[in-house]
């Protein structure tokens, strides 16, 4: 599990609890996503955190006799025979809840033997605590194991269907970023996750559930780098950029983009909504930056519509704009790279060593210069242009937005030129400003394909292998035909062979 999956799972399993937890170590993302299994690696710090957190939740769940009774589903364990029945019931129920499938006979026996030893040594309640702690540290909970079929090692490489309980976990970790609920496990137990139609029906139910909002944010946060703004560099803005910027502004910017992504995409939102919707949920600080009316309650978030000439969707929001800027100035190449990498799946080439990477500054003798003029001069050499033609072509389109995301008509008293140009795409054209760019991106098949590839990578928790790229192209075509409907895309992915099958054997 990724850390987000782990913490969501604990929240969902123990809804009454919210203990203060020690921080988990940073995850190393793989190609942008922390849920990639290849990126997840145990360490001494991590297993120590797992132990501490298991004990915190187990203690909370067994705080007193009433809590233990509720947890084990028994009220009387005073007599040995009753205690034995309660133990069996508790281990089966808790085990299947945490492990997302019924316990196997050998597992049940191991946990029962330990329980009995702990009960004999201390008491029944202590044994419940210790057993729960052990289960919360077990691989069946912390990992998403998909055991090989018994004959896997001697067969040739082949694809086999994902078994139903594992399918339930695949669905829930993808669509809810958490463990399955009882209904989903029950559907697996009835063999209902074995056909495409059944999987689709379950997935539709899950996408109607509020837990699906989590995954919309988790995916877009990572895909679009919307949490970059929470980095240290963005705690401060120079007074010339935004005198009203405080340490809470980046947090508000991240929340604003979260509310936007969740509200616009939950229930049939489209890629066009993400790129072009002017709906926004703002607090006082965000309203100030966007130049719209602030909510009456300064702590509240309320829905507004952003000015038509100035704003569109996610690319024109503070989290993206400021997160791809410096403290004192914008960087068109960084913003341009943000679009190239994330919407065209085109990783940047590093500048050659020895080139000037510092922020260009105007020579006072030259009089006022816009940021664009300075970057045009800096990147004018032919050796820069092979990359910067594209980066600047995109990045200059954002020059109406300062390093704090505020809209500006003038810079240094000079008019801002926000004309840009797309190169090397299927929608090559000139455009004026990021509002036009946002609309243009929605016309691009390349953008739909890139978004699809990222969603599939996220859904599978791994990079796509060669044979899956054709499938990704087909899913992408469907996505475009559906009008960029994100819900339809997710249903397409979970019913695709690559999500429902796995490769085994040598």
């Amino acid at each position: 599990m990724s850390d987000d999956e782990y913490l969501n799972a604990l929240r969902d399993l123990f809804p009454g609890q919210a203990p203060a937890l020690p921080p988990l170590p940073h995850e190393t993302a793989s190609a942008g996503f922390a849920n990639a299994t290849e990126a997840q690696q145990p360490s001494d710090v991590r297993i120590s955190r797992y132990e501490t957190i298991a004990n915190l939740y187990a203690r909370g769940a067994t705080a007193d006799g009433a809590a233990v009774a509720a947890l084990v589903g028994c009220t009387d364990w005073s007599m040995p025979t009753r205690a034995a029945a309660c133990t069996a019931k508790f281990i089966d129920a808790m085990g299947s809840r945490l492990f997302r499938r019924p316990l196997a006979a050998d597992e049940r026996e191991r946990f029962q033997l330990r329980f009995q030893a702990w009960q004999a040594s201390i008491d029944f309640e202590a044994a419940v605590f210790l057993t729960l702690s052990a289960m919360l540290q077990a691989p069946q909970f912390l990992y998403r194991p998909e055991p090989l079929p018994p004959d896997a090692s001697n067969g040739a490489s082949r694809t086999v269907p994902v078994e139903p309980y594992a399918m339930a976990s695949r669905l829930s970790f993808f669509l809810w970023e958490s463990v399955p609920d009882d209904a989903l496990v029950a559907a697996a137990s009835r063999g209902e996750l074995e056909t495409e139609e059944r999987v689709r029906r379950e997935a539709e139910r899950m996408l109607d559930d509020a837990r699906a909002r989590r995954v919309l944010w988790s995916f877009h946060r990572q895909w679009l780098g919307l949490d970059r703004v929470l980095g240290d560099e963005h705690l401060v803005r120079t007074p010339e950029v935004d005198v009203g910027w405080t340490a809470s502004t980046p947090v508000a910017a991240a929340i604003e983009s979260q509310l936007f992504v969740e509200n616009v995409l939950f229930a049939n939102g489209t890629l066009a909504d993400l790129l072009t919707s002017r709906r926004a949920w703002v607090n006082a600080d965000m309203a100030r930056i966007y130049g719209v009316a602030a909510p009456a309650d300064p702590a509240a978030w309320s829905e507004v519509e952003l000015p038509q000439a100035e704003r569109a969707g996610i690319l024109t929001r503070v989290a993206f704009l400021a997160g791809h800027s410096h403290r004192g100035a914008t960087s068109p190449p960084i913003r341009g790279n943000g679009v190239e990498l994330r919407f065209f799946c085109q990783p940047p080439l590093a500048p050659p060593p020895g080139v000037d990477l510092s922020q260009p500054k105007a020579d006072p003798a030259d009089g006022p210069r816009t940021n664009r003029m300075l970057f045009e001069a800096r990147t004018a050499p032919a050796s820069c242009q092979s990359c910067h033609r594209g980066l600047n072509g995109l990045g200059f389109g954002f020059e109406h937005y300062g390093a704090g995301g505020r809209y500006q008509a003038l810079e240094q008293g000079l008019a801002i030129d926000a004309h840009g140009r797309l190169y090397g795409t299927d929608i090559d054209r000139t455009f004026d400003g990021a509002v036009e760019l946002s609309a243009a991106l929605d016309d691009s098949s390349m953008v739909h394909r890139c978004a699809t590839q990222q969603w599939m990578r996220y859904a599978l928790g791994r990079g796509l292998v060669d044979e899956e790229t054709a499938l990704a192209d087909a899913v992408s075509l469907n996505f475009e035909r559906s009008g960029g409907n994100v819900r339809a895309l997710l249903l397409d992915i979970v019913t695709s062979p690559t999500f429902r099958m796995r490769r085994v054997g040598k």
Binding site: H26, T28, A31, D106, G231, E233, P347, P348
Partner: protein, 481 residues
């Protein structure tokens, strides 16, 4: 020779753990002839040093070749500005001018041919402690391509009741992604504990005062089952692992080993001279310096890595909206990765930053020197190594300034300032000549820690002129004769 965690556990007899191993008391014999254990601290700071603010003249030294001078008889004003806060410790210092991050230069030269992340920060972070080529991550910043030196030493010096290493400090974010320096393996960052209180709680997880009372409360009885729970947990990993594919099996086996290590640590008592108490006074850096002392004094680890932050500008007397990174670029005349810009204010700021780091480095030496051990102090048995992300703040990797402190049981010959000649042609065409590889310093450190390695990381590369650069063998000039 590299060992993996499993081989190590086997060597320790923990492969099939039945009884809790105990630590040899010899390691802590107080002056009874047995050597105190050797320890190492990697003190890592972002950017690098402004040469004029760090170097010291060596009177009478020939223009070419290796040169050295004693630091012992120098007065405080004779010390360079950055090293001046360390003047009280001059007998214990070994200042090393002229090493090169050669494996990083070789990596850059190669990536220039093949494409990939060439950002000087990313490659520095990835290569500083690993001494190998970075792992490229397709669009995301590159990361360490192999296990870093601190983690290699961690594997070899860990034991039941003793962490392999502790990595403390600040999550350094040069490119909007965390840069960890320390790696468990290719692309796998070692967790950095950023909160001193949490770091202390972690130490308590292994800390065991000499004896436990015989009468237990119920809570104590439950607490005493911790090892039993971990045993049960490990058994689940053992049961599941054989049923998974190779990748899943490897991950679960690694996890199981770590659970077993934690379990094995629980019965091991800490040295009686050690008292684990937390002092939350002072800034976080100072708290971490004290925690490193505590971890060493209680023998809860022998390897510590500290990642220093870029100070907030106000910490060193600059306006809050100062961008230190821009100053870094502009801090040295005619020696930058980015044209010929130079700004004296920037040079001043980078120097002030170096002094600020030196003051915290001095705090660490003071803390270690305050703990008597054997016939000396903890500092005598430790080597604290100050390495920098970049060689110079101008984002270059070829001219580094390295400070060692503490003799590590008389392995290093301290009280000296040494200068290595820059004789190797850089792997990058057009770059200045460079001194010996940092890999060779790491060989010396491995040997100081009782290992017999003669190489670490990259062993050979080519200068841009086709010459061969040898990255192997220790820097014997640093050793005691």
């Amino acid at each position: 020779m590299r060992v993996n965690r499993r081989q190590l556990l086997k060597a320790l007899g923990l492969g099939a753990l039945t009884t809790l191993a105990t630590r040899s008391p010899l390691a802590f014999a107080g002056g009874g002839g047995a050597m105190s254990p050797s320890r190492v601290v990697f003190f890592v700071t972002p950017h690098g040093h402004v040469p004029n603010a760090w170097t010291m003249p060596i009177p009478g030294a020939p223009a070419a070749g290796f040169a050295e001078r004693s630091l012992v008889d120098l007065a405080s004003p004779d010390f360079s500005e950055v090293l001046r806060p360390l003047h009280p410790f001059r007998k214990r210092l070994l200042a090393v001018e002229g090493l090169s991050h050669t494996s990083v230069l070789a990596d850059i030269a190669e990536v220039m041919r093949t494409g990939g992340d060439l950002n000087n920060h990313s490659v520095g972070v990835a290569g500083l402690l690993t001494g190998t080529r970075a792992q490229q991550n397709g669009g995301a910043p590159c990361t360490g391509g192999s296990r870093s030196l601190d983690q290699e030493l961690a594997l070899r010096t860990g034991a039941p009741g003793r962490f392999g290493s502790r990595v403390y400090g600040f999550e350094y974010v040069p490119n909007s992604s965390v840069a960890p320096f320390s790696f468990l393996g290719p692309g796998q960052a070692t967790p950095i504990v950023a909160d001193p209180a949490v770091a202390f709680a972690d130490l308590l997880g292994y800390y065991r005062p000499g004896q436990v009372g015989s009468v237990q409360t119920r809570d104590q009885a439950i607490g005493a089952k911790r090892a039993s729970v971990l045993d049960g947990v490990a058994a689940e990993y053992e049961a599941l692992s054989p049923r998974l594919d190779a990748e899943g099996k490897r991950k679960l086996d690694d996890h199981r080993d770590l659970v077993r290590q934690l379990e094995a640590s629980l019965g091991v008592a800490s040295p009686s001279s050690c008292q684990a108490t937390f002092d939350g006074s002072g800034d976080k850096l100072t708290q971490f310096m004290r925690l490193i002392k505590l971890a060493f004094a209680c023998d809860l680890t022998r390897v510590a890595t500290f990642i220093a932050p870029v100070p907030q500008p106000t910490d060193i007397g600059y306006p809050a909206n100062t961008t230190m990174h821009t100053y870094a670029h502009e801090s040295i005349a005619n020696a930058t990765s980015c044209g010929a810009m130079f700004n004296p204010v920037a040079a001043r700021a980078m120097t002030d930053m170096g002094v600020w780091y030196a003051q915290h480095f001095a705090t660490l030496l003071q803390e270690l020197d305050a703990v008597p051990e054997g016939s000396g102090t903890l500092l005598d048995h430790t080597v604290v190594v100050w390495v920098t992300e970049l060689a110079t703040p101008t984002h270059l990797h070829h001219d580094a300034f390295t400070l060692l402190a503490g003799g590590c049981n008389d392995f290093f010959s301290t009280g000296r300032y040494v200068r290595y000649p820059r004789e190797n042609t850089s792997p990058i065409a057009g770059f200045a000549k460079a001194g010996p590889a940092h890999n060779r310093l790491y060989v010396s450190l491995l040997q100081a820690m009782g290992q017999t390695d003669t190489t670490f990381g990259m062993t050979s590369t080519k200068g841009a002129d086709g010459s061969t650069i040898d990255l192997t063998g220790p820097l014997t000039e640093l050793h005691t004769a």
